[in-house]
Assembly symmetry: C2
Homo-oligomer: 228 residues x 2
């Protein structure tokens, strides 16, 4: 019994996704302005971690590429810690080839054009202007990868309005197979609750249940079905 | 024995700081750019939480005003959650009068001049310019408070260079009684380790020990001595 318990904690699970390599990104990215300050997104990482956990439970070989969060890695999941969008892209490309890529991370769209190496002091100016440049688009880069495009690529869209329209637009422009559209107009950040719909070529489906674990289990079942 | 354990968890501690009202700020602030994005500082909140805990253990009546962190409130401490510098200032002023104010939070010096109420979509532009305005200075506001200036006000300075010079300058300009100068050129963020010196009118003292708990205990003893 003790051996069994240790096995189920540490060993690979047996399940319907056995042998499938799945990469999940999670958490925010942090884009430094100087050694102390930076731009970030609201994201506790909980939804991505829950998805990684649900996939590992079904037997998948899961790599979790995580921005800075305060969560322990789920059992049986390989976790790679990154900070910036550039680092997350590099880690994602290094994790290819894989069968499924699930981009849950709230990647900062922009980063400060220049990051100072020393902490910037407050000057006398009342205003400060910072120029940002676009970050690489990880979801699009993986979805349009010429050599290692995964069989299934799923993205996430956190929106405060027009959920379905934005999700459909993102599905088309990024070249991915499904978008999980997350209504963040309510206070879901850091909470165990979430409200998510899934957009793919077949339609737009509200995911039943209200917790991040419900969403994770739905996504794991969806992946299993799509891989057939 | 069980009653004793519950008492020491829940009840007020008896100690040398009994009856003293102490306010501690901790963690980063988050300054929204839109409902998803914002500017923040690197800060896990651990040093501030450790100081609040050490003060409560010595019997102080501790109010912990905390930015967004993933830490549980220490036992016996009243915690008030805030997000922005403006909210932290308001909560700090509401917590006056107090005997001691310890400003450990890594407050963002700047906030976006305009925060959008809907998530901003990526446009075709390759660059984005954001104007920031200065945040209120909580340490200075409390240190120079006309009606409720606490007996002892201690600030924190996270620096990557010229620790002592910046600490002395901050001590003078803010009007506080002591500055804890934190060398963040090494990788202390989120770690249990810290390297801190204390600057006051008597000198500049390296705090012995290397953990955030060591620093917290030193600060608690220092406060006890100064109130003495």
């Amino acid at each position: 019994a003790i051996f069994g318990a240790i096995q189920s904690q540490l060993g690979p699970h047996k399940g319907p996704l056995n042998g499938r390599r799945i990469v999940v990104t999670a958490g925010p990215t942090f884009e430094p302005l100087d050694p102390v300050r930076g731009m970030t997104n609201r994201s506790s990482g909980r939804q991505g971690y829950a998805i990684a956990e649900a996939l590992a439970r079904k037997g998948a070989d899961v790599t979790l590429i995580s921005g800075p969060v305060a969560l322990p890695a789920p059992g049986g999941v390989r976790r790679i810690d990154v900070e910036t969008a550039d680092q997350m892209l590099e880690a994602s490309l290094n994790a290819l080839p894989c069968d499924v890529f699930v981009a849950v991370a709230a990647v900062a769209d922009w980063r400060p054009k220049q990051a100072a190496t020393e902490k910037q002091k407050k000057g006398p100016d009342a205003e400060l202007s910072v120029t940002f440049v676009k970050n690489p688009d990880i979801l699009e880069t993986v979805s349009k990868h010429l050599d290692f495009r995964p069989k299934l690529v799923i993205g996430f869209a956190a929106e405060t309005s027009e959920l379905e329209a934005y999700a459909r637009a993102k599905l088309a422009s990024k070249g991915c197979d499904a978008i999980l559209a997350n209504d963040v107009s309510d206070d879901v950040f850091g909470s165990a609750k979430n409200q998510v719909s899934l957009a793919d070529l077949d339609g737009f489906t509200a995911i039943p249940g209200t917790t991040k674990a419900d969403v994770a289990n739905f996504v794991a079942r969806y992946i299993h079905k799509r891989l057939g």
